[in-house]
Symmetry: C2
Subunit: 448 residues, 2 copies
């Protein structure tokens, strides 16, 4: 987000958005001669949040932005040196640091499952190890929000969902959340910085404070309409909703844009307000509901005359799953003879699958039926021929240090939203269920 602000002397780059051990491992590896070993790291998750049927990848475009800014400033290098976190050898190495590796992975908006190789980062151990925390921070949070958003959008059955969650997330995370919400199928955001950075539709109504500020509700509505036009959305639950709706139509006339309800039993209130609006001739005025909505609350409102949903807390906190459990694991590396070898840890309950991977989705009668993860040596994978109707799930994000511009910026987010919609359409119908259950596709991992 702040690429333009980074300066070589005092700026904040993304290079210290890491855990200390990444720098100390780099330092030790530079000293014992292993830092240059060619390595493949993989991002994947061992499990989805309990009961979830699928996840939605988000954040990869932001990784490319963060990479562009991953050069420690002089100030940051001084910190690493003054605190004796790394030796002078490493400071020298970092002065010229630029990621020259290759990153492949699932598209933004792609559906993922346990063991999906969401991202693979290939380069020297030194350059890849530095990116661990930053990549995980971005993917874990953004994918948590996009995955929750996607369920809400499904529950909304075509009615627009809008992000209003900024106040319930860290102020920077809020911008990422707005972006991830769009990936997950949302239509707009109340967050201005996100709207500016990515060109998103910005939305908003008014707070209760605006009504309270004025000597009467009528004066508040008049003030809002004067400034924003009759198409604006008026907040109606500061005092009596019935009175507010009457006043709203009196002030705006039947051209009133809409009203927002932010408390009470939203379903029955929406019925009452719709009837009242219609009786007053404001048949085109829309009803927006807000107030701690989640996918279940949205689903319960499907018969209520609601036109759009403003979602806050539960969106930006991943609706019960505020982070994904994605990890970043070394799966292949050069040995002392310069030969690439698959590697894996054996920790109890946390063993990893060795080797670099390909990933495909197979279909039966047009419906996805399995995820195929093929692991093997580079040459074996290059020669591998998938079944004809399998869809290749991997794209190249960074090729030898060169980021692909089509995955960055606001258009990439809209592309990701479209991709999510298509990928979800291909899934078994169970994917759309809010009932707790198993992942809708099995992931079949196999070595060649």
């Amino acid at each position: 987000m702040n690429a333009e602000n980074n300066s070589k002397d005092t700026g904040t780059s993304t290079a210290l958005m890491t855990d200390m051990y990444e720098y100390t491992m780099l330092d030790a590896a530079l000293q014992d001669g292993t830092a240059g070993r060619q390595s493949v790291f993989e991002v994947y998750t061992r499990h989805l949040p309990a009961g979830r049927r699928y996840g939605v990848v988000a954040g990869t475009g932001r990784i490319l932005d963060a990479l562009a800014d991953f050069q420690p400033s002089e100030d940051e290098l001084r910190f690493l040196s003054d605190r004796h976190i790394v030796s002078q050898t490493t400071i020298d190495w970092l002065e010229h640091f630029r990621f020259t590796g290759t990153i492949r992975g699932y598209r933004e908006g792609e559906i993922f499952f346990p063991d999906s190789p969401i991202l693979q980062v290939e380069g020297s151990f030194g350059e890849c190890t530095l990116l661990e925390t930053l990549i995980l921070s971005i993917l874990n949070y953004d994918s948590a929000v996009a995955s929750a958003a996607s369920r809400m959008v499904t529950a909304a059955k075509g009615r627009p969902c809008m992000d209003m969650g900024a106040r319930r997330a860290n102020e920077y995370a809020a911008v990422a959340a707005a972006r991830a919400a769009i990936v997950g199928g949302f239509q707009g955001t109340s967050n201005l910085l996100a709207a500016k950075e990515y060109g998103f539709k910005a939305i908003g109504t008014a707070a209760h404070s605006f009504t309270l500020l004025h000597d009467s509700e009528r004066e508040a509505f008049q003030g809002q309409i004067q400034a924003l036009g009759k198409g604006t959305t008026l907040l109606t639950d500061t005092y009596s909703i019935e009175e507010a709706v009457r006043t709203a139509v009196e002030v705006a006339g039947p051209e009133l844009g809409g009203v927002r309800i932010d408390s009470g039993d939203l379903g029955s209130l929406a019925q009452q307000v719709r009837a009242q609006l219609d009786s007053l001739g404001a048949t085109k005025a829309t009803i927006t509901v807000t107030n701690d909505l989640d996918e279940y609350a949205i689903a319960s409102l499907q018969d209520a005359p609601v036109d759009s949903y403003g979602v806050g807390t539960m969106l930006v906190t991943g609706s019960g799953a505020p982070t994904c459990a994605m990890v970043y694991k070394l799966t292949e590396r050069e040995n002392s003879d310069g030969v690439m070898q698959a590697v894996a840890k054996k920790s109890v309950g946390k063993a990893s699958v060795p080797g670099r991977k390909l990933a495909y989705r197979s279909y039966h009668n047009g419906v996805a039926d399995a995820e195929h993860v093929i692991s093997g040596a580079e040459e074996a994978l290059a020669a591998y021929k998938p079944e004809q109707d399998w869809r290749d799930l991997l794209v190249t994000y960074v090729d030898h240090g060169q980021s692909m511009p089509e995955y960055q910026g606001g258009q990439a987010v809209l592309d990701a939203r479209e991709h999510r919609a298509k990928a979800l359409e291909e899934m078994p119908i169970n994917a759309l269920s809010l009932m707790k259950g198993e992942p809708v596709l099995p992931t079949l991992v196999r070595s060649i």
Copy 2:
């Protein structure tokens, strides 16, 4: 965090870390003449997360940092104008914007309850309304993390807790989380940017990838010790823990600093590893455990020979409560006659308490027994005499636009940690219970 990066032309300030409605309300209020009305906004929460006994305030120091940077850049003003979010009158007003109001509130590290007036922001409606989302974003996230951290620290009974959660939070939120963890009683963080920004102790061990990178575990341990000294902490669960511990002591000798265990049944493994270390003469080597710890897991390890806890996911996601439910409500404002009036909305289930507030804590035999919130007109509050042993909970953070430096920077975070420890000591013993229950103090709200 990026105050130094802001430039008047292209920089990112904190001024768009808002919901759009704050700017449209400002615009409407400037046009109808109400923007200049003197106003008091209050931050409070209607409830704690289910079952929690208390919360810990965190983030106020960061609000002061964010305020210093709350001037829209030219680029941001252009966005507001090009998108027709506000009128030219408002653009002109924003060009000279500087917050000139007053902010009072609970100290960082203070214990809070439902209805505690955590922050009160006083100034013109226009300047105060712009800060709503930014203030809530900061307080809601930081206090969620500090509140969870505080429970973990209590459960750890004096053993140090370390933040290792960066990878499970947005990359900027991770820095705020590290800071909030310290407020909540943590001793250090793995996050380098937080360590740099606030001067915190940086901690870390090594990842499994470092062991896997080398041709043998022995070579990995040798490399790490070569670079970091024998006092380093070696990760022992990549292959066999028993073998790793033997190798660790062989390589480092009895001066080995410590080992980390990141999988399996941590309690019984810690017992085994302690016995093995002792039998090998490494009696001073410490044991750090990690792996999805929360306050309950930490409590269950109190009899295990563990020296420190590395906490990740559950810390930075607030251990089940990833945000607080704090809101920002107008409680008093000037009417059209220039007279200050208490105001409150009446929304179902979300009614607010009108008027500006004082807040005190009372004690019985040295133990806190109630929170007293006194609301009233400015003059009445100025004349109010609390009971002699009541502790005044409010401090002034910003006085007519002037921020108090003692609440900013790294030392303020350490002061907040100390304040939390003292404030928690004064609480009824139930505050330390991890059992679900009611807030340990009642909040008695009264108008004068």
